[in-house]
Symmetry: C2
Subunit: 579 residues, 2 copies
Amino acid sequence: MRASRFFISTLKEAPSDAEIVSHQLMMRAGMIKRIGSGIYTYMPMGLRVIRKVEAIIREEMNAAAGIELLMPLVQPAELWQETGRWDKMGAELLRVKDRHGRDYAIQPTSEEVITDVVRSEIKSYRQLPLNFYHIQTKFRDERRPRFGLMRGREFTMKDAYSFDRDLAGLQASYQIMFDAYVKIFTRFGLKFRAVAADNGAIGGSGSHEFHVIASTGEDALVYCPSSDYAANMEAAEALPVAAARGAAGQALAKTATPDTVKCETVAALLGLLPLAQTVKTIALTVETESEGKLAKRYFMLLLRGDHELNEVKVGKVAGLAGHRFSTEAEILEVYGTVPGYLGPIGTKVPVTVVADRTVANMHDFVCGANDAGYHYTGANWGRDAAEPAIVADLRNVVEGDASPDGKGVLAIERGIEVGHVFQLGTSYSESMKATFLDENGKPAPLQMGCYGIGVTRILGAAIEQNFDDKGIIWPTAIAPFELVLCPMSYDRSELVKEATDTLYAAMQAAGVDVIVDDRGLRPGAMFADWELIGVPHRIVIGERGLKEGNLEYLGRRDTEASAVPLADIVSFIQGKMQP
Amino acid sequence: MRASRFFISTLKEAPSDAEIVSHQLMMRAGMIKRIGSGIYTYMPMGLRVIRKVEAIIREEMNAAAGIELLMPLVQPAELWQETGRWDKMGAELLRVKDRHGRDYAIQPTSEEVITDVVRSEIKSYRQLPLNFYHIQTKFRDERRPRFGLMRGREFTMKDAYSFDRDLAGLQASYQIMFDAYVKIFTRFGLKFRAVAADNGAIGGSGSHEFHVIASTGEDALVYCPSSDYAANMEAAEALPVAAARGAAGQALAKTATPDTVKCETVAALLGLLPLAQTVKTIALTVETESEGKLAKRYFMLLLRGDHELNEVKVGKVAGLAGHRFSTEAEILEVYGTVPGYLGPIGTKVPVTVVADRTVANMHDFVCGANDAGYHYTGANWGRDAAEPAIVADLRNVVEGDASPDGKGVLAIERGIEVGHVFQLGTSYSESMKATFLDENGKPAPLQMGCYGIGVTRILGAAIEQNFDDKGIIWPTAIAPFELVLCPMSYDRSELVKEATDTLYAAMQAAGVDVIVDDRGLRPGAMFADWELIGVPHRIVIGERGLKEGNLEYLGRRDTEASAVPLADIVSFIQGKMQP
């Protein structure tokens, strides 16, 4: 490509609504242009990156026996009503009526349509397994679109759907996709991590997220550096800090702690007490309806003072689905005291005490006294408080926790979710009656998996991971151009022009995706543009170097340029292209 | 590709709602699947054709200095309001409100967005010319979607937009796109014709349509076989049949023609009179408003009895913009007689007589007598009727008319419109204030052109042009696969399997897009599938032939297979790939 035939538009300053670095840099590098809230035109420079991302995904999906098709963007409401998602999905689903008043969804995802396709196409187990995918524009009407392509409303996704005859088949298809995703993200040249995710009802290892590692990431990723354990924060299992409960060493004592409802302040008041010796209490209410009558059940959750509640884990405790925090009135009525002073000692029916695994193994701990203005110190299970009715994993893991696989301690890093693989099972095939005939001629529901990659989101995530104060640093595999040739005085030096044109042709012949900057800019402006845009390899062609038989190479992460003999330059660059 | 790893789904019968052959064959060949009215999933086999069409378009657009970007599908209403199209476009524009109640259009075309992009990006004449294009999903809420991909609601188009500093620049950009379209449609391997189209206000040769020739086409294309004149029916200029008016030879006579209002019946009644000697009359009314008062003007249009009115041409006659047919009451009031007996003799103010060029040169003609039940014969201009106030081209051309370029006579064929190039001028740039600074530093509106190709429509049009009773006959360039290998007993003959696998690898190495049918079907079913799907080249690999060193080749249009020596097969097929 010649820059004079391309469209390059860089900005010194990012618009004020660009809050994060990837958004700022994409705007400054002329990759995207805002058309409306969360809606962008992908400008020529940005589109090149998208196409490279798509090409890698397509190659690996095809290699993994994925079959590409293209489902429509405007989808009849009837299909979404069959699965109940027309009602379940809230305002994020963009809905539209056609000229005849019929309802349609602008697709945020295509489970319904693919299930509609296969229920008439798949008749026999002999056709299975099958994996269909498409790369398509999607729309999600986010309440607050922001961060450029990271949380836009219109975006591009690859989604794949696998169909199998049984759970073993689903698991095999899932593994194939998992492996394909590892290849895809490896080929992107990004540091990434696959983590186990919570997958609701299906259980097992039926869901993983793929995250691009970035310190600015929204998600906390838990992993064990000495094993391959990895999970997102929702799904990471927290073991008890002490494997067994220690014996009681202190006497129970009731201490005045006026106006001291937080564990941190209780610990401080009691004099340098470690927070890890305190227990905090969270009161929950679950409302149930039976034969038209509303009933309430009350739960007291106990966590160590320095631990954080994990809502997803709480929701999985028996009886706690649909819980909410108790109101102050409920607490007064049930516990006879105000929030901030609750504790397990003396707590009785109708309250169920649910202790986190770590709390269940604590001894000589500090907790509320169920009496406004008082805490207990030296509390112990069995002796002072009844054994908790339920012991469960209720908390987020923290750095240094033992890994659930017993192979070390956990570390935490930040990530940006860019992919998700999920074992759906038969939920869609059952609600939409997508069955096949098995070996015995009996109809059975298809076992489904779904597999997404946020194509446009990859751009934002790649930049969050790879930038410096000059601009973007694209990995070579997804850079808009692999190499830029920067001739000095292209228009004024015949020597430079000739060498540049020869080199340009040689690089093209060698399969290098090269752009030559023939715009006639001054060196400083030219270099600044390409550093901002983030092309990973740069060659400067100047008269002086040419006379010495040299070109000047600079990798985007290099601090100093190096001279490369003209004769070696093609193989030198080809060497740099290797991942 | 191996068929066992692909998805092939053929049908013996087309669904009953498929009215035209391309729709029937695409459904039967498993290319598309209906999801809703005018909304399809492009199945794997159909998507391959779409991708090949897109790739050819993309290559030629890039070669013509087009720069690809991607504009959003969901577009803010504000932009459409700026050009007035939010109101002007009726129910075909699919409109949607987001969760905050803001209005958006699902794009049927992107003039507004591209103009919004360039008005902030193009600052100086130095940046011009520019040509941006994208290949994107579009939606047009057709009242009655039908014919499969030919008139769907959701479809794919390539649209390009050129920006120039002046009209000469626009015309140069237009010619570049015109030439690129000729290359594109030639590469598709389709018989096509570019015809001049009416382009409303701009005039000149500012608009051409590209049609795929097909006897089932909806549009009539006018061309001159002995020159390069070509236009669509709306735009084709009709010369007078007689270059000059002949002298009067007959006396005027008033003849009773009771209940005879049509030229055909008048001619028959008057005894073998050629229809070409009759003149028919069409009464039009134009309503104008001036200072709050409604005024009506009346026009009598005259056409030769066997000619057809061309509404677009009528609309261009001075004073006739916004015309409608006169009501019976108006005719009675203004002409004093009933419809069917009007004529130019004695017609006076307030009626303006507008004669078609051919009528103006007629003599001794037959026309209505402005008296119910009577016609004149032997009528002549000047002697009997006042010279017409206006002489204009009012009619559709017919086969055999003189070509307007004076180089022969016109022929007519049917076509399917698949492309359109159009000089927009400054209408969008003026309404959206998209200006640039010219050499003198003065702001001037950008001169715009727009250039569309109906990507998915190409599939339907290609089939309408190329099919037989067995199925589709794809041109090689856009076939889902170029070549199919049909092994006999792939699973049972080691000889066949080995030869097939070797040949498959050799064809892939030679760059042939080949599929091997390893599904284990019987020959009849296998051949029928590929003939229906329309793969242009087929090789059968059988034991007997192999023992003789031969393979059996059949082109999709061939009636007899030919034996090709194994040693020559790759170069033989490569020869067939040449366009």
